[in-house]
């Protein structure tokens, strides 16, 4: 067989092919060389290209839209009326479409992949390639649950040495194996207790105290089965084997931690409801952060997580306000009517790991007292784990009566300086969390009355100001702020579109987009691609945050498929910006 086989079989999606299918394709491939500047195809490609060396730029209407390098494939999907040019001397393996189609007809997985590429189904593609369905813990394999290498010894090991080994590895059990790694018993903390009670010398052999025969399960069995064995046998450790040989050990704890996060959100939620002081709330908050990280690592997506979490944060804010109010009124007497409002991602119900505080107050007229009160709430929120906003957008600074707020908004909307436009983008996502919600309704009603074409244009122009980096060069970009260049543009553009259509009561970006489609202001296609792109970017950001890296993404560390999807997602952001520019006539600036 020809040497390219080794190269090609490692490339997605060719790794989905059987040996025969790979052999077939390899026997049908040619190797084409292109000089720098040479056109590889123009119009609609009739072949699939696999880049072996060099660089290729793909142009549409003269604009560079994608770039390919070693190991990339192109020539499938939306390449109609485009032009591929070698940007350096380039060698490609090429396979005629007919041959690809033959494999497509035979291999369902491969077909699925090609389908998804053709349809630009990002989400599906990532699921397919990362080999995970939106995870169902019950269907996980036991092998997925193993976190440590197994600790083992032979039957002649002394109890002392076995205990030492357990201690040094920080485990609660040691597997006793034969020379060929077949497990014959397990020695656990429980057995160690038996030894302490009945044993005579530390030099006794571990085989005298181990539990034998040992309960084991093959590595590819579902986790749920392991869970049932542990439960029905009332044991804490289960040995995992691979074709009969020791492969690992899982404990009840390991399994519970797989199932737990789902349930623990609701448990913590209930605990929060009963919390009576700030310390308690703080510790619950710490635990929810861990739980969220856990869930995100396990592949729960942004939309699911944010809806799970946002009501938790609402309750947390409510609780902190209640507790503060109780002690405040005791000391300073009754507060007047007011409403506590969250802004930004919290208002949009898109907050996952606690972002900074963004809040304001509308009150009935008597400000001083309430401002003092707000300051304490802001401090208390910080205490329980929600950092203060560096820009100072907090109730202690933004505490006004309904009439004052109306004046403020009117002022912002009549003199549209860059500063005032900034204020508008910050203060247009509002959601009442606690208190007299009518105040907010009144203010929002007022805002929507006052919004005019001029305001919309300025907001639109602000929303499209930050363009994502040029896609072709994404691999040349080392670091990249996901929030600034990916998430904000979508949020801000959506807000302007919603504002134009007077969609008053919806703050959530996804819901706003769906409403826009419902009233015929946006097409289904745009909705689908923007939602996919938004979710992808949010998920990427969440993973980045969980890894402790905030909003700044290191593009080079991304897997190839994520790089590919990122390019696509950013392309969608650009297109969305274009749509907004066109709709509000801000193509050439203001």
């Amino acid at each position: 067989m020809l040497p390219p086989k080794e190269f090609i079989r490692k490339i997605k999606p060719f790794d989905l092919l059987s040996e025969e299918e790979i052999d077939f394709l390899v026997s049908k491939l040619d190797v084409e060389a292109f000089e720098e500047g040479e056109i590889i195809f123009s119009g609609t490609p009739k072949k699939l290209y696999i880049v072996f060396s060099g660089h290729v730029g793909l142009y549409k209407n003269g604009e560079l839209i994608e770039e390919f390098e070693k190991g990339d494939i192109f020539g499938l999907g939306i390449y109609e009326n485009s032009k591929a040019v070698a940007s350096s001397d380039t060698i490609c393996f090429t396979i005629k479409r007919d041959f690809i189609n033959r494999i497509v007809a035979e291999n369902a997985k491969f077909r699925d992949f090609i389908d998804k590429i053709m349809k630009r189904d990002l989400k599906g593609l990532i699921c397919l390639l990362e080999g995970r369905e939106l995870s169902d813990a019950l269907l996980m394999k036991v092998a997925d649950c193993i976190t440590k290498k197994p600790v083992f010894c032979d039957a002649y090991t002394t109890v002392r040495d076995a205990a030492l080994k357990m201690e040094m590895n920080g485990v609660g059990s040691i597997v006793v194996v034969k020379n060929d790694m077949t497990p014959i018993g397990i020695f656990t903390n429980r057995d160690l207790r038996k030894f302490v009670i009945h044993g005579t010398s530390k030099e006794e052999k571990v085989s005298a105290y181990m539990s034998s025969p040992v309960m084991s399960i093959e590595f590819d069995r579902p986790l749920f089965e392991a869970y049932q064995i542990l439960n029905s046998r009332r044991i804490n450790h289960l040995v995992i084997t691979r074709y009969g040989k020791l492969y690992g050990v899982i404990s009840v704890k390991d399994i519970m931690s797989q199932f737990e996060p789902f349930t623990s959100v609701s448990i913590l939620h209930r605990k929060l409801g009963k919390a009576t002081n700030l310390e308690e709330i703080r510790s619950i908050h710490e635990r929810i952060v861990e739980t969220i990280k856990n869930l995100s690592i396990r592949g729960i997506g942004f939309y699911e997580l944010s809806s799970l979490i946002s009501s938790f944060y609402d309750l947390l804010t409510e609780k902190v306000i209640e507790i503060t109010e109780r002690s405040f009124t005791k000391e300073f007497g009754e507060l007047g009517d007011y409403v506590w409002i969250n802004m930004g991602s919290s208002a949009r119900k898109e907050q996952i790991l606690a972002t900074d505080q963004d809040n304001m107050i509308i009150h009935s007229g008597n400000g001083e007292n309430i401002r003092e009160f707000a300051k304490i709430v802001n401090n208390n929120l910080e205490f329980v784990g929600i950092p203060k906003c560096s820009g100072g957008y907090m109730a202690m600074n933004w505490c006004m009566s309904v009439e004052e707020w109306k004046k403020k908004f009117e002022n912002w909307m009549t003199s549209l300086s860059p500063e005032n436009v900034r204020y508008l983008t910050v203060f247009l996502d509002l959601r009442a969390i606690y208190g007299k919600k009518d105040f907010l309704d009144e203010l929002i009603g007022f805002i929507h009355e006052k919004v005019n074409a001029q305001v919309l244009r300025y907001l639109a122009s602000d929303a499209v100001m930050l363009e994502p980096p040029k896609l072709g060069g994404i691999r040349g970009v080392e670091e990249f702020d996901l929030k600034k260049f990916g998430i904000y543009p979508i949020v801000n553009c959506t807000r302007v579109l919603a504002l134009e259509k007077k969609i008053v009561n919806i703050t959530n970006t996804r819901e706003r987009l769906m409403k826009l489609v419902e009233i015929g202001s946006l097409s289904e296609n745009v909705l689908k691609s923007v939602l996919d792109s938004y979710e992808f970017l949010q998920n990427l950001r969440l993973k980045n945050q969980v890894a402790g890296k905030g909003n700044v993404l290191n593009v080079k560390n991304l897997s190839r498929i994520n790089q590919f999807a990122l390019k696509d997602a950013l392309k969608i952001v650009q297109d969305f910006e274009k749509l907004v520019k066109g709709r509000f006539f801000v193509e050439g600036g203001l």
Partner: protein
């Protein structure tokens, strides 16, 4: 003739030894090129049953004696080989030797030939780089950034040789050598460094 219009055939033989007078061809691999394009889908590969050499005495890595016994003899496949090679320039790694074997086996065979080792030297002289003194195919492939995970098969070697040659052609075009005539003249220049 412009290099882009020329046809080449990358050839590799496996033989029972190194003496074209005594030894025989037992496998042949040909990978055609049209200009810069390797038409590997039109490759040819066949085992060849030797006439004189006793198969049982052969110990060749990767070829089973049984298969060799069932293989066609050279005369049977020669018309096809000739057809493929017709009008094309032979390209090979130490191609002279393979050429002599072909000539001996067929008697009436004639072709122009290009040795990738010679092209490498000529290119290196042009670019003022060091060249490999007497490379094997693996080290030459490595020099051109090619991996050779699967070797010792006439077709695989012919393919690797074609890939080396393809990269050489790209580089030759860069330095203005764009016709077969120019190429032939630089590879046959006396091997003295240009000072």
């Amino acid at each position: 003739m412009n290099i882009r219009e020329a046809r080449f055939s990358s050839l590799d033989l496996e033989t029972t030894g190194l003496n074209p007078q005594k030894d025989e061809i037992i496998a042949i691999g040909i990978v055609p090129l049209e200009g810069l394009k390797i038409l590997s889908s039109n490759s040819f590969y066949s085992l060849v049953k030797p006439k004189k050499v006793k198969i049982k005495t052969l110990k060749i890595h990767g070829i089973s004696q049984e298969k060799l016994e069932k293989a066609p003899c050279f005369d049977e496949i020669y018309p096809k080989i000739r057809n493929i090679l017709e009008g094309s320039i032979l390209v090979g790694f130490c191609v002279e030797l393979d050429y002599s074997f072909l000539k001996n086996a067929s008697r009436n065979f004639n072709a122009e030939k290009i040795d990738v080792v010679k092209v490498d030297r000529a290119l290196s002289r042009f670019l003022g780089e060091k060249y490999l003194e007497s490379p094997d195919l693996d080290s030459l492939a490595k020099k051109y950034g090619l991996k050779t995970p699967f070797r010792h098969n006439a077709l695989a070697d012919a393919f690797i040789t074609a890939q080396i040659f393809q990269i050489q052609l790209l580089r030759l075009l860069k330095v203005g050598i764009n016709t077969v005539e120019k190429l032939m003249s630089i590879i046959n220049e006396p091997e003295q460094p240009i000072l």
